[in-house]
């Protein structure tokens, strides 16, 4: 008998079928990878095992954990299981902890609840498990509050909560999706060690095939609420028998064809020149009388870009990538240094004087959900940058321009009269791109433009970026922590670390032979499906 057995599980919410006939088993000490695109039912499967489904959900079939029939168990029985025998780690570490309770209280709470230990014993236990997940007492006393910790540290606290009582099964739902690659590697290693130490079963949910391949003994591939394929990880992914598995694998390694890589060559004028730019933020006061030490987010950065060039700016979260981008876009003022765009100095200019420059640079943000006003129609949203034009277009011209931009990004001009909620995530990202190119800019700054998208959508959007680059000659500054994306779409790469650019050069050269510590760490931590499959096969001989 396996630790967890799911047979013919079907779930519907308000009458809409979400899962159909799911079969899945996990043994003790086994890592099961559950992959699939968003909406494929991975999280609902996990929540069914925890019996934490939304109210309106109805589950049928059989879920048996350690011989207990989960679907038939009473709420009291479930409460006894949750947090004791089954632990769960969630995707978003920034919001997974209660902001008004200390980490000590939050870790000790579950321990006290299940073991009836007194406060002192529970706190000692909490201390041990926090030490174990890499949060030593000297820097992270029990009295820390979540807001004092970074995302990766908070995820360690969540793992500590889930693993405090050595559960038999740990469910990790996209545990590293919100973290940068270096943190991702650390968290995954921690999970792997905990599995080995406690002979714990791990259900690892991810949309990232490379991550799952690295970690899982067996994988289950889901799509539209059904299991497409399941089996041994290395074999499933190397043979790619099932067409959907093959599609996923190919999409995650997709490299768009680019007609004119390396931009417009020649020694023409530079599109963008950044000279010795720094940005300080006021630091936190340590004493009432002493002036606070400023935090240097960007430290003496210089680089330049040619027209049509595609450059990646990579680095860990908090390294200053986005601050630098904001200064280039003149959304933030630099503390020192100069930024020149198409030969004009941007730094120190007022909003009116920046208008011509703004026309020539646009931005695409990470979150295709948050970057549109939900109450406006597509026409208005995409036309937004048009106010930067010298001559305001009349309404017919405006519609024409919007239609052209929509056509450019592969949407229909008929979509103009829809609202953003009528589009999927990938389509919305197309809308952001349409908005960015409507003024025919020379530079588009894209801040993690594909990291919120599923692999197949990501491949399409990367194709679109490549296509627009070669057709319209738009230069890109791609801000990303995903080296696969950097490799796929950019000519040059700059590695940023603690506010400085520590390495730069041709993308493939730098990523194949990183010189600086920061670049080496990034490359080593970046999940790579080819390498992961090769290693798996090698391990198995």
């Amino acid at each position: 008998m396996s630790l967890l057995e799911i047979e013919n599980l079907s779930v519907e919410i308000d009458g809409t079928p979400i899962l159909r006939d799911i079969d899945l088993t996990i043994d003790q000490g086994e890592v099961m990878g559950l992959v699939g695109e968003s909406g494929s039912g991975k999280s609902i499967t996990a929540l069914t095992v925890m019996r934490l489904l939304p109210y309106a959900a109805r589950a049928a079939g059989r879920v048996s954990f350690n011989g207990i029939d989960i679907l038939a168990a009473s709420e009291d029985q479930m409460c006894a299981l949750r947090g004791d025998d089954i632990g769960m780690v969630f995707q978003e570490p920034m919001t997974a902890l209660n902001p008004v309770k200390t980490i000590g209280e939050q870790v000790a709470e579950g321990i006290r609840w299940h073991t009836r230990a007194n406060r002192a014993d529970a706190e000692a236990h909490a201390r041990r498990i926090l030490d174990r997940v890499g949060l030593p007492e000297s820097k992270f006393p029990l009295s820390c509050y979540p807001h004092e910790l970074s995302g990766g540290q908070r995820q360690r606290v969540v793992i500590a909560i889930a693993c405090a009582l050595k559960p038999k099964l740990l469910i990790a739902d996209e545990p590293t999706t919100a973290l940068d690659v270096v943190l991702q590697k650390q968290i995954l290693e921690l999970l792997r060690d905990l599995v080995d130490e406690n002979r714990m079963g791990l259900l690892l949910i991810s949309h990232d095939l490379a991550v799952v391949t690295d970690m899982a003994d067996r994988i289950t591939v889901m799509r539209h609420g059904e299991v497409m394929e399941s089996g041994d990880t290395a074999r499933t992914l190397s043979e790619q028998v099932h067409p959907y598995t093959r599609q996923l694998a190919q999409a995650s390694m997709h490299v768009p064809v680019r007609a004119k890589p390396h931009g417009v060559s020649g020694s023409g004028e530079m599109l963008l020149e950044v000279k010795n730019v720094s940005r300080d933020y006021p630091g936190r006061r340590t004493s009432f009388l002493r002036k606070a030490e400023p935090l240097r987010a960007v430290d003496n950065v210089s680089f330049s870009m040619r027209p049509g060039q595609s450059t990646a700016l990579v680095g860990r979260s908090g390294c200053g990538k986005s601050t630098l981008a904001r200064m280039i876009l003149a959304l933030d003022k630099s503390t020192a240094g100069e930024i020149r765009f198409t030969g004009e100095t941007l730094t120190g200019k007022d909003e009116a004087a920046l208008k011509p420059a703004r026309r020539n640079m646009q931005v695409v943000f990470q979150d295709p959900y948050g970057s549109f006003n939900p109450r406006h129609k597509v026409e208005r949203l995409v036309a937004e940058p048009l106010h930067l034009l010298e001559k305001k277009p009349n309404s017919a011209e405006r519609r024409e321009k919007v239609a052209a931009a929509l056509h450019e990004v592969g949407l229909s001009p008929r979509d103009m009269d829809k609202y953003p909620h009528e589009f999927s995530g990938g389509q919305r990202q197309r809308l952001s791109i349409a908005r960015a190119i409507i003024t025919r800019p020379k530079l588009v700054v894209a801040d993690e433009p594909v990291s919120a998208l599923d692999v197949s959508i990501r491949a399409q959007i990367l194709d679109l970026f490549a296509d627009l680059n070669s057709r319209l000659g738009v230069a890109y500054l791609f801000i990303t922590h995903d080296l696969t994306v950097a490799r796929a779409i950019t000519d040059d790469v700059m590695v940023m670390h603690e506010g400085k650019i520590v390495e730069s050069g041709r993308t493939n050269d730098v990523l194949d032979h990183p010189q600086s510590e920061a670049a080496k760490a990034l490359v080593a931590a970046a999940p790579d499906l080819h390498r992961a499959i090769a290693r798996r096969l090698q391990e198995q001989g």
Binding site: T95, P99, V100
Partner: protein, 315 residues
């Protein structure tokens, strides 16, 4: 934390100064000469002039302002134009009625609202929720004087448990005085409780959708426990905001209830003073209310910081 408090305190003081300028300025602009008013229409011009000098009304504006503020700080509010007694006596006589009334009403409304809000939120969409929120809707809609009349009819006229109105004074003993305040407090508290219960419920429901609630549930705690331990404290910020506003209202906005129950409270004092052009009383009471609102706001800000550690960070 100290910086946070200090900043709040400074903001409070600044507000107080601005308020004093506004109150003084507005009453200065309003027509009606207090000296003429006190002496009546038949008074001679000389007599009025003499009184003006005596009251200091002939002094320059700035001087009078400073004199007034100095008086406020030393609790010397001046003399009432109509009653010719120190304003401080008038006011303190009323505060001992209004302040306990406000405190009792506030305690009652909190004691009713928070359990009802929690109860409703924990049974969202079920009949119990619909019924209690329907009742709250009625409570918000029905004016408090009507409640007051209803209460008088039931408890004073019909059951004869409490007096229908009037206030015996604290000298008559604590129990009779409290008994006299009981009905007005309930009449004030019910509509406030209705609003507060709705706020509590919606704040809780919002918090219950947060990720950390799911984390807490994944620890194995039942829904009810999670609600009390994790959700309630996070939902307190909007509740505290409303509580602060309600206290300010209860202190002075109770004139209708005071009239219904014939209570000698601050609201009626201000009302009389306005109709009688007793500007010095109006000024003093308004300043007192402004000061108490600022103190309450300070307490609310302080309680925010107690509830949410993120607000204790010096910024």
């Amino acid at each position: 934390m100290t910086a946070y408090l200090l900043k709040r305190l400074l903001i409070g003081l600044a507000t107080l100064v601005v308020a004093s300028l506004v109150v003084f300025g507005v009453l200065e602009i309003l027509p009606g000469d207090p000296a003429r008013l006190m002496l009546g229409f038949e008074a001679t011009e000389d007599a009025i002039q003499a009184l003006r000098v005596e009251m200091g009304l002939d002094q320059p504006l700035l001087w009078r302002y400073l004199d007034w503020v100095g008086g406020l700080l030393t609790l010397d509010f001046g003399r009432s134009y109509t009653y010719s007694v120190p304003v401080i006596d008038l006011v303190s006589e009323r505060v001992v009625v209004s302040l306990p009334l406000a405190l009792i009403a506030l305690t009652l409304s909190t004691a009713i609202a928070i359990p009802v809000g929690v109860f409703s939120a924990s049974r969202r969409g079920r009949p119990a929720d619909t019924i209690s929120m329907g009742a709250a809707q009625v409570g918000v809609a029905v004016p408090n004087f009507w409640f007051a009349l209803l209460l008088i009819y039931v408890f004073a006229v019909w059951l004869r448990l409490v007096p229908a109105g009037g206030f015996p004074g604290w000298s008559a003993g604590a129990w009779p005085a409290l008994k006299a305040l009981m009905l007005p407090a309930v009449a004030l508290a019910l509509p406030q409780a209705a609003i507060l219960a709705r706020v509590t419920r919606s704040a809780l429901l919002e918090v219950l959708g947060e990720d950390y609630i799911r984390t807490a549930r994944a620890k194995g705690m039942p829904r009810r426990t999670v609600l009390w331990r994790h959700a309630l404290r996070n939902a307190m910020i909007p509740v505290l905001t409303i509580l602060g506003l309600q206290f300010a209202f209860l202190l002075a906005g109770t004139i209708i209830i005071e009239n219904v129950f014939y209570l000698p409270g601050l609201g009626r004092l201000v009302f009389q003073a306005i109709t009688q052009r007793d500007l010095i009383v109006v000024e003093s009471v308004v300043m007192l209310l402004v000061a108490s609102v600022i103190v309450v706001n300070l307490l609310v800000d302080l309680s925010y910081a107690l509830v949410d550690p993120r607000l204790r960070v010096n910024r």
